[in-house]
């Protein structure tokens, strides 16, 4: 069994500070989401994960863009990259970073759930014939991905994975398990097209997209759940998991 080899202390240098982990959910209505999964080069697959997490074969990332029409924090748009991995026996995505269009919401997500927020402009266009998502930073496109040729799926065909966010917490540097629930009103799967993914701009230049796996686009509601578990990033999930909520 392989484990991550990245130094959690070094990784924590760019990790957000969580002053108080979320104890209330953030319910997001009028949500639209595109989520693409892409194989990436396997060479650094252990080097990009802390020891608490385990790589999968082949190495893969999840790139998603979420727009929220209505929430307690107001409307917002979030683009996120995660590395597909395992925590113990569980499927997880290790949060690399995200772009949030609205500064206040970005601060909330960083402070409560440990999102590593970067400033940027995030756009999502969902149409009958496909979905397009674009992220720009300082006017430069760092993400351009599309869903082409949509085919209707049912909500039961989807499998969502919780995320692990590295952050400075009141318990020390920890991986925060970030859980979301989805109410899916409609969902399509299509042909993935990733024309731009600037890995360096996302903060992990070793992620090189190599081969598309899938892309889905959906409309519905998303809830960011209160934090229940954190994990010491230096040891495996069986030794390092702690219940906090």
């Amino acid at each position: 069994m392989l484990s991550g080899t990245a130094d959690p202390v070094a990784m924590a240098g760019s990790a957000p500070v969580v002053s108080a982990m979320a104890t209330q959910p953030l319910e997001c209505r009028g949500a639209e989401l595109i989520q693409m999964i892409y194989e990436v080069g396997s060479a650094p697959r252990q080097a990009v994960l802390p020891p608490a997490l385990h790589p999968v074969n082949p190495a893969a990332i999840t790139v998603s863009v979420l727009t929220v029409g209505e929430s307690d924090a107001g409307p917002f748009t979030l683009a996120e990259t995660r590395i597909v991995c395992r925590s113990g026996v569980r499927s997880r995505g290790f949060h690399v970073s995200c772009f949030v269009s609205e500064t206040d919401v970005g601060n909330l997500l960083a402070d409560r759930w440990g999102f590593r927020v970067l400033p940027g402009e995030v756009e999502l266009s969902r149409h009958y014939h496909g979905t397009t998502a674009v992220v720009r930073r300082d006017g430069v496109t760092v993400l351009d991905m599309r869903l082409l040729g949509p085919q209707v799926l049912s909500a039961g065909d989807l499998q969502f994975t919780d995320a692990m966010h590295l952050a400075h917490t009141p318990h020390g540097v920890r991986l925060i398990q970030v859980e979301r629930t989805y109410e899916v009103a409609e969902v399509v799967r299509g042909r993935p097209l990733l024309t731009t993914f600037d890995a360096a701009a996302w903060g992990e230049p070793r992620l090189t997209p190599t081969h598309p796996i899938s892309v889905v686009s959906l409309a519905g509601a998303v809830t960011f759940r209160p934090v229940r578990y954190i994990c010491d990033p230096a040891v495996n999930a069986w030794e390092g998991t702690q219940r906090v909520g």
Binding site: M1, L2, I37, E39, H54, V56, N57, P58, A60, V84, R86, S87, G88, V89, R90, S91, L153, S154, G156, D157, L158, Q159, T161, D162, Q177, E179, V187, R189, H211, I213, S214, V216, Y229, C231, A237, W238, E239, G240, T241, Q242, R243
Partner: protein, 363 residues
């Protein structure tokens, strides 16, 4: 009750060629001992690219070696991947017939469709169509073994009329099975009149439901070939005089198998499709329930697993027998967690103290 052994040919990290060679040699030694001790069948999976979990990508070669070094033990695919990008059905029929001849009619052919994206994606196979291709394979294989010339026009593959040779030794053809992980596949097996080869350890309750459903439905089957009315389950074996030692050593093997299995990249996780409703060995409904468990929680060894002193194992197998299972296939080791000598001792003790409690019904 029939007892078989089940090979994944796992190899521990860090991967070395020497360890790969040792895994094959250990498995062959286990198969030879199984033959001497009276086990019925040696099953071998077909997996591709699954580092550590399974290095058994050419099972027909491994099974030929088993057949050539044993005299009674049946050899069995558990199962051949019925996806045309991975195996052409004519090549499956040819290889199986040749192995049936070389083994003296001791071959069983399990069929499967792969469940990891690692495998399906590696061959650029379409996950949406594997259920359909599997169905086409199981319908055409018996024809390729029994008819002199076959032409086939299908959805996932087609070929013009050809005489496929050789034909198998067994008449009319080797028994056909389908590997079953997710609930519902037992219906697919029963409807086609083929054996139900459990390859994920099921609970007593789930196995009883599966067995009842299978027995009922196979009465009305539309057989694809010669009916193989058998249902088996997978289990783990570590038998030791001292129950605590068995639990410690065998429990480590059980845990390691589950861990490696959970680290596979299942199709459902990354490729949303109706064709894959289970996440690995977890049924769709169980995934949501499992999500609420602590990530730090270890899975205990469940009831019915053949890890323990002989009397404990006899007790467990009696329950499997009472719910109508025809056979149990045992994983003997995982990634060398158990030293080979202890694996062989476990097999010997099982044969001496447990096997006599059960008689094999001939089909």
């Amino acid at each position: 009750m029939k007892f078989g052994i089940f090979f994944e040919l796992s190899v521990p990290q860090p991967l070395t060629r020497a360890d790969e060679t040792q895994a094959y040699q250990d498995a062959l030694e286990q198969a030879r001992l199984a033959d001497e001790l009276g086990f019925g069948t040696a099953w071998a999976v077909e997996h591709h690219f699954l580092q550590e979990y399974s290095h058994c990508s050419a099972p027909e070669v491994f099974l030929t070696a088993v057949a050539m070094s044993t005299t009674r033990l049946r050899v069995a695919h558990g199962g051949v991947v019925c996806v045309p990008q991975i195996n052409h059905p004519i090549r499956v029929a040819e290889r199986a017939a040749a192995l049936d001849i070389l083994s003296g009619g001791r071959l069983d052919v399990g069929t499967a469709r792969a469940a990891t994206f690692t495998e399906l994606g590696g061959f650029l196979a379409d996950p949406d169509s594997t259920k359909m291709s599997w169905d086409e394979f199981v319908h055409v294989l018996p024809r390729l073994w029994t008819e002199e010339r076959v032409a086939y026009q299908g959805t996932t593959f087609s070929f013009p009329e050809r005489p496929v040779v050789p034909k198998p030794t067994q008449q009319p053809h080797p028994p056909l099975w389908v590997t079953v992980t997710s609930p519902g596949t037992e219906r697919d097996a029963a409807d086609r009149g083929i054996g139900c080869l459990g390859v994920a350890a099921a609970s007593f309750r789930e196995q009883e439901r599966r067995t009842t459903e299978y027995r009922k439905r196979i009465q009305q089957c539309e057989p694809v070939g010669h009916v193989n009315d058998q249902i088996t389950t997978q289990n783990y074996l570590f038998c030791h005089e001292d129950d605590a030692t068995a639990g410690r050593v065998g429990g480590a093997m059980f845990t390691q198998f589950g861990l490696l299995n959970s680290h596979l990249l299942w199709a459902r996780e990354v490729y949303p499709t109706r064709a894959y409703q289970s996440l690995g060995n977890l049924a769709a409904g169980v995934v949501a329930t499992a999500r609420d468990d602590s990530p730090g929680q270890r899975r205990p060894v469940p009831d019915g697993v053949a890890i323990g002193a002989p009397d404990r194992i006899v007790e467990a197998i009696k329950i499997w027998e009472s719910i109508g299972v025809d056979g149990i296939n045992f994983v003997l080791n995982t990634a060398n967690v158990i030293p080979q000598e202890q694996v062989l001792d476990s097999m010997r003790l099982f044969a001496r103290e447990v096997m006599p409690h059960f008689t094999e019904e001939k089909h």
